[in-house]
């Protein structure tokens, strides 16, 4: 455990400075190796046959013609891998390939391995599948209200639930109804957050290799190699000691590669059947259908406040449209409520969330898992409340600030909290005081805040082992090798362990080698999700490095006949603190230590606190060792004639605890704000209905038609780092990869209101939708700039 005193900045030599990434030049020269760049001798190519029906029984599958085609080496169907799996151990409801039922257009039913891709595609055409079509559920309300007259999508999870329900969570803290009764103002709102998908630029890809000795190796573009390892072993019935998962560099993930997918099981099984390596690369269309992205949320909020602008009570009812499988849905259902209770003090809070299945690709975790949708609704609610009581929305948020070293109403432990500094930063940088309600009609500015977890205290499968481990080894050349099982998906975790090794052991950064992403030789890290990596991996790396540092200090101290604590390691040398003229190259220091202690290596690990959560069912979900905080201000121009919204700029202030490398932190903040902007204005993972093609067919499964922003679409972004120096984070660091996405969307919504006086409560704010809202307001005579609040903000105030 890192002690607070270890987080002082004055001690740090490298940490906090702009630094390059360990693989940065590989990526800019084309040398970086991703899964599809790998070719193995004798490799076959696989393809997956997918369901054309949103809901159907599989009556029969005849693979004989496909198997007879020259060049085809194996065909596999669901019955060959009939073990149910699911990323959440309590909800295993899918199979690598469907066994008896397909549940969305695109569900996998069979896979082939052939000498080349062309032959594999031809073979798919020869597989005869007989389906008995079933009525499909496309709408979550219809799925929820189903009476069993047509088959549910799954078997009932619980007595009394219909088979379309994945999970129901209802939690209440404090006196919610009394709080609403006592409130001077109550705002009721109904919101809809459209589903969106991750769209990493790298499509999913996997390669299987089965050796004669029973060893199975799978290369995969996954962000959870450890969970993949476990599920491959279980489903393919291979001893986990004989399964190896190698994770090449991953070309983006954003939550879209955080559970096992059909292709990973298929390459494993096909390799076992053929004795040949097998590769499957998704087409872009398959990436859209594999999905696991942001759930569509239908949300209702009632929020009360006093005339002084203090929240009294929050009541939420949410329906999550989950798609065909559970995925992370159990957690999503909890997160839809659990992560809302900061940065504002809520005396009372209730949420009632239900996730239902529909016959669409499964939803799962996307950057800001489960909490981006309610944050949109709630920050708009706050804006509405602030207006009702006549208080500037920044001032309103300040008055409700929850503070640091406190507990939320749902008993989450909050330690460091830099939210007020975040608000002050964006307020100052954006020129808020001169703009809010003061710009001409059509121009607006809006604020929103948020919080997010830095990892979860409880792992996905219950166990007492560390959440992250690192091994370090020092050699006689002065080099440090770090073995890290963390998932480099572009966020820079391989670099973080290198920075820490260099910081602690005094070697130049380019003397650190990071050996990564291979379950055969790297310690377990649970994966790149829930913003856990910097916090947990960083602490594990510090633990390992400091064990080695002590050995080196001791050996040098013995040679110099001084105290070990007086030996400093920095800048490629060992120094004697009282007289830094006394020094020697770090390589010689390492050699002294190796001579004294033998071959030098150490392991380090980190585990989360397990004693800080609410004592109620679900109280562990949302419990994190630390919380990040964010505030955004967005400025927009609204063209009321076309409905086009031009986001001029987003100011992003984020409390990341400490920026270990500000370049990487800014990159996460900018990328997050961009992605939130995209969800606000452009992106929607939607499906055709019977009137517009085949029901359940993806509306736009391409990177042109699913509109992700180009450089010309993306607004100017300004990142403002806030450092609260967390007591338990590595050097005080917290997360930066997901939190900064949240406020983009409500900040834009609130800015639109400031511009034209219209509340956009349904996403995305696309031109037709905005234009229709403008026309309605014009007709009602309400199309006008809203009035300024009586109580302005005190600029930069930090009470």
């Amino acid at each position: 455990m890192i002690k607070p005193s270890d987080n002082r900045k004055s001690d740090l030599k490298l940490i906090g400075r702009p630094m390059r990434k360990v693989e940065g030049l590989d990526k800019s020269t084309g040398r970086a190796v991703y899964t599809d760049d790998i070719v193995l001798p004798g490799m076959l190519h696989g393809k997956i046959l997918r369901s054309p029906h949103p809901h159907a029984r599989i009556v029969s599958i005849d693979t004989s013609e496909a198997e007879a085609l020259e060049g085809v080496h194996a065909v596999v169907t669901g019955r060959d891998m009939a073990t149910a799996y699911g990323i959440i151990p309590w909800t295993p409801d899918e199979y690598p390939l469907c066994t008896d039922r397909v549940r969305y257009i695109g569900d996998g039913v069979a896979a082939v391995a052939a000498v080349d891709e062309d032959t594999a595609i031809r073979a798919l055409d020869l597989i005869r599948v007989e389906y008995e079509e079933l009525p499909a559920f496309h709408d979550p309300f219809a799925a929820l209200e189903a009476d069993g007259s047509i088959p549910y999508i799954h078997d009932a999870k619980k007595e009394g639930w219909n088979g379309n329900v994945t999970k129901k969570v209802k939690l209440e803290f404090g006196e919610v109804d009394a709080g609403l009764d006592e409130a001077d103002v109550v705002v009721e709102g109904e919101y809809f957050f459209e589903g969106t998908t991750h769209a990493p630029i790298e499509p999913h890809c996997a390669i299987g290799l089965y050796e004669g000795n029973g060893k199975l190796t799978v290369w995969s573009a996954t962000q959870v190699p450890h969970y993949l390892h476990r599920e491959l072993s279980r489903v393919l019935e291979v001893d986990p000691a004989k399964v190896r998962v190698i994770q090449p560099l991953v070309g983006g993930a954003f939550g879209g590669k955080s559970e096992p997918f059909d292709l990973e099981f298929c390459v494993g099984k096909l390799a076992m059947m053929t004795g040949r390596p097998v590769k499957i690369l998704y087409t872009r269309e398959e990436v859209f259908y594999s999905h696991r992205g942001r759930h569509p949320f239908h949300m209702k909020y009632r929020t009360g406040a006093t005339a002084d602008g203090l929240l009294t009570s929050v009541d939420a009812k949410i329906l999550l449209d989950g798609g065909a499988y559970a995925s992370f849905g159990l957690v999503t259902t909890y997160y839809s409520g659990q992560l809302l209770c900061a940065p504002y003090q809520m005396p009372a809070y209730r949420f009632d969330s239900t996730r239902v299945y529909t016959n669409k690709p499964a939803c799962g975790p996307k950057r800001g898992h489960g909490s981006v949708q309610p944050r949109f609704a709630f920050e708009v609610q706050i804006d509405k409340l602030a207006e009702r009581v006549g208080i500037d929305p920044i001032e309103f948020r300040r008055r409700n600030f929850i503070g640091s070293n406190t507990r939320t109403v749902n008993e989450l432990r909050v330690t460091s909290n830099g939210f007020l500094e975040c608000m002050a930063s964006v307020e100052r940088a954006s020129g808020w005081a001169d703009k809010f309600r003061k710009m001409p009609f059509g121009k607006g500015i809006g604020i929103a805040g948020s919080t997010y977890i830095s990892g979860t205290n409880y792992p996905i499968y219950p166990n007492e082992m560390p959440q992250s481990g690192v091994q370090m080894q020092i050699d006689r050349s002065g080099r440090v090798a770090v073995f890290s099982g963390a998932s480099e998906i572009g966020q820079g975790c391989d670099s973080v362990v290198a920075y820490i090794a260099a910081e602690e052991l005094g070697v130049p950064l380019d003397h650190v080698r990071v050996m990564r992403g291979d379950t055969d030789f790297t310690p377990v890290d649970l994966g790149a999700y829930s913003s856990r990596v910097t916090f947990m991996l960083g602490n594990a790396a510090i633990d390992a490095a400091r064990k080695l540092r002590r050995l080196i200090q001791e050996a040098v101290a013995e040679a110099w006949e001084v105290k070990p604590g007086e030996v400093l390691l920095a800048g490629g040398r060992a120094y004697w603190a009282p007289d830094t003229e006394r020094q020697l190259p770090i390589r010689e220091a390492f050699n002294l230590a190796e001579a004294k202690f033998g071959t030098l290596g150490a392991t380090g690990s980190y585990n989360t606190p397990k004693d800080v959560h609410g004592e109620y069912r679900g109280g562990t979900i949302g419990a994190s060792p630390a919380y990040s905080f964010t505030a955004h201000v967005a400025e927009v121009d609204v063209d009321v004639e076309t409905g086009i919204i031009d986001v001029k700029k987003i100011w992003v202030a984020h409390d990341c605890g400490r920026a270990l490398n500000p370049v990487l932190v800014e990159g996460q903040m900018e990328g997050s704000a961009y992605m939130g902007f995209a969800e606000a204005l452009m992106e929607e993972q939607i499906f055709k209905d019977a009137d517009h093609g085949r029901a359940g067919l993806h509306n736009a499964p391409s990177l042109l038609d699913y509109r992700i922003p180009t450089s010309l679409d993306t607004p100017e972004l300004e990142s403002l780092i806030v450092e609260s120096i967390d007591p338990e984070g590595p050097y005080g660091a917290k997360e930066a990869g997901e939190g900064p996405l949240h406020p983009s969307i409500p900040a834009i919504a609130n800015a639109i209101y400031d511009a034209i006086g219209i509340r956009m409560d349904r996403l995305p704010f696309s031109p037709p939708r905005v234009w229709r809202a403008v026309e309605a307001a014009r007709e009602a005579g309400t199309l006008t700039k809203p009035a300024a609040p009586q109580h302005a903000a005190v600029p930069g105030a930090v009470p």
Partner: protein
């Protein structure tokens, strides 16, 4: 509900300036394989019988003769026949720009360019930007400024940016945005990419931008 097209108007045709799109060709390309058919072949049509033929290419200054299926694209040829895996396939139909290479100096979508159309041209890929002296200033600047997060779009963006800097050593930020508008990046929000292009442009003009992010500095 989440069906129907609530987004952009029907018939809206976005344009992507910057990258050259080849004219429609009789040769089969990956793009044509992307149809979901009633028979359930999601993501691919059944290909024709693939026969191979020899194609002559000049890539990064080297001459190659290589046998590829007749429907191969330039990207497939580079990646799977020549082992030049730096150029990436992100969308398989010319939408994302990750496959961008330079054909006679012009940024070109290699994933929808039938390989035959590139025969005889001077092709340059991300692997050909560096010289014996070291990485191209753009490559170093991308590393320096954190412009490559996952790195998958990076090779294509570098090719588009290299073409820009070939004719304009002092591009404005607006000109950079325009030149890169055919290359989708999902990680960075583009901000660090603009910074990197500006640093590289300054270096190519002979100015050394002031920056302390050293690789070997302790």
């Amino acid at each position: 509900m989440s069906t129907g097209r609530a987004g952009w108007e029907e018939g809206y045709t976005p344009t992507r300036p910057g990258i050259r799109r080849p004219a429609p060709s009789n040769g089969r390309t990956s793009a044509e394989r992307l149809v979901l058919r009633e028979s359930g072949r999601l993501g691919h049509l059944v290909p024709m019988e693939a026969t191979k033929d020899i194609v002559r290419l000049r890539v990064n200054g080297d001459r190659h003769e290589v046998g590829v299926p007749t429907h191969y694209t330039l990207l497939e040829t580079l990646r799977y026949a020549l082992g030049l895996t730096g150029s990436k396939q992100g969308c398989d139909k010319g939408d994302c720009g990750a496959c961008t290479v330079l054909v006679d100096g012009a940024p070109t979508l290699s994933c929808i360019t039938p390989v035959w159309e590139a025969a005889g041209a001077e092709i340059r890929t991300v692997e050909g930007l560096a010289t014996a002296e070291g990485p191209h200033p753009l490559q170093d600047a991308f590393d320096l400024k954190g412009a490559a997060q996952c790195g998958f779009c990076t090779p294509g963006i570098l090719c588009s940016a290299a073409a820009l800097l070939d004719w304009n050593r002092a591009p404005t930020r607006e000109e950079i945005r325009e030149a890169l508008s055919g290359n989708l990046c999902r990680c960075t929000g583009y901000a660090k990419i603009y910074d990197a292009v500006e640093v590289a442009a300054a270096r190519l003009r002979g100015e050394e931008p002031n920056d302390s992010t050293g690789g070997s500095e302790p």
